[in-house]
Amino acid sequence: MAMNAAQAPTAARSGSGRRMSRAAKYLFFGAALAYFCVPMAAVLLYSLATRWTANILPDGYTLQWWQATVADQRIQSAFSTSISLATLTAIIDIAVVVPAAYWSRVRNAGIRPVVEVAAAVPFALPYVVIAFGLMQFSGVVAPQYQGTFVLLVAGHAAIAFPFVYWAVDGAMAAAGIERLSETAEACGASPFQTLRRVVLPNISPGLVTGGLLSFAASFGEFAMAQIIGRGLDTVPLWSAEMIRSYTDTAGSYNRLAVVTLLTFAVLFVLSALVVYWNRGQTVRLLPGGGANTEGVRR
């Protein structure tokens, strides 16, 4: 029927009641929209302000902070560190998760419970705790890696892998990957051909979603970067330094505003892509099922 789910509950109400509740709905959603957008507007104004003293709007506008920030070598290097960190995290996670998830579906079901318990760890335990533990552990086993990029990549890969796992595993379930690879085998495909021509193309939405989510998780991660990435300069670490510089003489807040907006833009693009790839549907199930986690991060 042409009836749709959204209309059904309201179909049989009197006109005035419907108008009232529609008005209330618009108000509610308007408030929600403002709630999301006003802080961003404030940050935007901050990034464009010459000085902002006691008025509702800045005293004057300028593009100097944008120019200065984009030209700042330290910020450039922080962005390049964060982007390579996040890219490596996403690549490593995809590289280790896909074979494990695939094998747990086609050969060894025993892998699944092990991975699922592991995937619950970054959820149950705050990143501060994991980061601190990792610092202590690496101090015991491999002190020379402390404070290095390599260790931070490994840490990020470990805390971001559940996003990739749920996305990929969900995509495999949706594609019916067991049947597909059996069919491919029956057609005489080698395992490598099966992987490249059948498995990967059919789970591409999961790969993209998982990759984007783990990228986002790593890009904005602060606790672990602060605890085990000492000496490195990522975007969140730079921001933390700026926000703690109490004297706002050098325009550090204005530059922080620019960086915050840039970070926000990165997130915006990433989640637009995620929503696009999943066609407006919610995708994955949380550990234990029943709920979804679109890119959860602290």
């Binding site: 029927m1 042409a2 009836m3 059904a8 109400r13």
Partner: protein, 348 residues
């Protein structure tokens, strides 16, 4: 108890006319089946009676009262949904009691009435189970009990059997008919399955793209479909296009009937496979046809026959008792005849 009168009911979804001036009188105590393919408007019509949809034009009367603007909860109806729609957090007993509790009936009266209904739909033993713990057939009987609990004047059933498997379906269909007749309630039954509609209904309304094509008792509908659509939908598998000659249409060597009024050069003739008479050799009469394929269906065997009507090949399905069909080989030429009384022709 009372009937339902629908007058000129019209419903639009954007540009699509889901219902186009539908007028039906459902008599008191009658079971009327709304039959049609998906998207024909039958469910929308039922939902208009329930008040879950508001018609754009037309009126809905139950008994003598105009119900068009009355909200669902104030209509004297009970309804059975396609997917049961049992409340999962309530037991079978609580589900049946729900409409009575909502109406604030005294507790003792509720308990007695629920017992009565549990007995009526044979669910006394499952009374304390949750919907998740019972079978589909039991769930739908529970839904029937819930619909009947407050003694509604009209019972609405929206494809109640379509979620069930074939075996349960037939049993529950007869069960619903039994209960409906026992209670003597007016009922409207939506289905897309013509055999189900014929088996259960006093009258069948055939619907197509928002309009009623024909309303008739099952036997009449079967024998005398009023329109092409009815004919096709109630199972005339053979639809043969024939040229009109001298106001007559027919198959050479077999039937010839008067061309339908308004036909213009060609007409479409409908007849059932079981009304096709197939005979071997020269003794038989009718058109010569080749047996292209035999399909064994159990008691009967369906022959795919291709004959020749004035240079035009025509394809006909013919059903034969399987024992008889065994004697006929694929590729053989046979004679095919149809009783003109069983042919319904419509203008193209």
């Amino acid at each position: 108890m009372s009937g339902v009168n629908l007058v000129g009911v019209t419903k639009m979804y954007g540009q699509v006319k889901a219902l186009d001036h539908v007028s039906i009188d459902v008599c008191e105590g009658e079971l009327l089946a709304l039959l049609g393919p998906s998207g024909c408007g039958k469910t929308t019509l039922l939902r208009c009676v329930a008040g879950l949809e508001r018609p754009d034009r037309g009126t809905v009367e139950i008994g003598e009262a105009d119900m068009t603007a009355v909200p669902t909860r104030d209509r004297p109806i009970g309804m059975v949904f396609q997917n049961y729609a049992l409340f999962p957090n309530l037991t079978v007993r609580q589900n049946i009691a729900f409409p009575l509790e909502v109406r604030h009936r005294p507790r003792r009266a509720i308990s007695a009435r629920v017992d009565e209904l549990l007995d009526l739909v044979h669910l006394t033993e499952q009374a304390n189970r949750y919907p998740k713990q019972i079978s589909g057939g039991q769930a739908q009987r529970c839904a029937l009990g819930r619909a009947l609990a407050p003694n509604p004047e009209v019972l609405l059933l929206d494809e109640p059997l379509s979620a069930l498997d074939a075996l349960v379906r037939g049993r529950l269909r007869d069960e619903i008919r039994r209960v409906q007749q026992l209670v003597g309630i007016t009922a409207i039954y939506v289905t897309h399955d013509q055999s189900e509609a014929m088996a259960i209904a006093d009258r069948v309304a055939v619907m197509n793209s928002g309009r009623v094509e024909q309303i008739a008792a099952p036997a009449d509908l079967y024998e005398m479909p009023a329109t092409q659509f009815s004919a096709k939908f109630v199972g005339s598998r053979n639809a043969v296009e024939l040229a009109v000659r001298d106001g007559r249409v027919g198959i050479p060597g077999s039937f010839h009937i008067d061309a339908p009024a308004g036909s213009n050069g060609h007409a479409l003739a409908f007849f059932r496979p079981e009304d096709v008479v197939v005979s071997r050799g020269d003794a038989g009469r009718g058109m010569e046809a080749r047996v292209e394929l035999k399909v064994f269906l159990g008691a009967t065997t369906r022959l795919h026959l291709v004959g020749d009507a004035d240079g035009q090949p025509i394809a006909i399905f013919g059903d034969l008792p399987s024992r008889q069909a065994r004697l006929i080989d694929e590729g053989e030429t046979v004679r095919v005849d149809v009783d003109p009384d069983h042919v319904h022709a419509f203008p193209i």
